[in-house]
Subunit: 142 residues, 2 copies
């Protein structure tokens, strides 16, 4: 396969520059906004209930202590609870609280609205094509 042309690359650069500015998500809840990593943690814990800080740290490639601080913040905020499972009493099992679940739900809803806005300018047929291309790009194993 030939390489992308310089024109294609330059146009993509320009489009993505605007794109990244335009499609930026506000924080879902009230009060002080969460740090980026905190939001990632909430989504990860929702998908992996009962996981531990070590899993989270490995998954995001940050230091364990960072996750410890972050889960501490989230627990204080009432979004996360740390349970000591009887099976291994060193470990903690992370779970979303009701508030945490609401928060992540609201954030996911906001994402969906944003994705709808992305697709809005395209025709129904173009939307399928676009989504297929994004999927192709994302799942490509180079």
């Amino acid at each position: 396969m030939t390489d992308p042309t310089d024109d294609q690359v330059a146009s993509l650069a320009a489009a993505l520059d605007v794109f990244s500015r335009r499609f930026k998500l506000k924080d879902a809840g009230a009060g002080r906004p969460l740090a980026e990593i905190d939001k990632h943690i909430l989504h990860y814990v929702e998908a992996h209930p009962g996981c531990g800080p070590t899993d989270v740290a490995r998954n995001f490639g940050v230091a364990m202590t960072t996750i410890s601080s972050a889960t501490d913040r989230l627990a204080k905020r009432g979004f996360l609870e740390r349970l000591r499972p009887s099976e291994d009493r060193r470990a903690v099992a992370l779970r979303l609280t009701g508030d945490g679940t609401s928060y992540t739900a609201a954030q996911k809803q906001a994402y969906l609205i944003m994705f709808r806005a992305m697709l809005a300018p395209l025709s129904p047929a173009e939307r399928d094509t676009f989504v297929a291309m994004m999927t192709k790009i994302s799942s490509y194993e180079g």
Copy 2:
């Protein structure tokens, strides 16, 4: 125009989730990595040589003092110089140094490589279609 279907939105969400993880840029230079805002400032100053901190703050929607600190960091690092124009001696005119120019050039180069990687999985014809769609989405005035 009808709304995007739930399927389309869900597929896009899944694709962009992977997309955002995969296409993440490492820091261009050596030494301690720059803060995000610092990199944005370098690109802005390159595009608007002689601009002042106030312009930059307005452009990015952050506090003036944040830009003051940031330009201070960048100046200490040798990426930026602050000149006092004779015309208005309150103002400072920001300019990239040679090192600053090199840094931004390296970062832009890294972006281009990333954009090439994005387009690589698509056929030449698809690339045009994809770039056109991204442009359409970015420039849409809803």
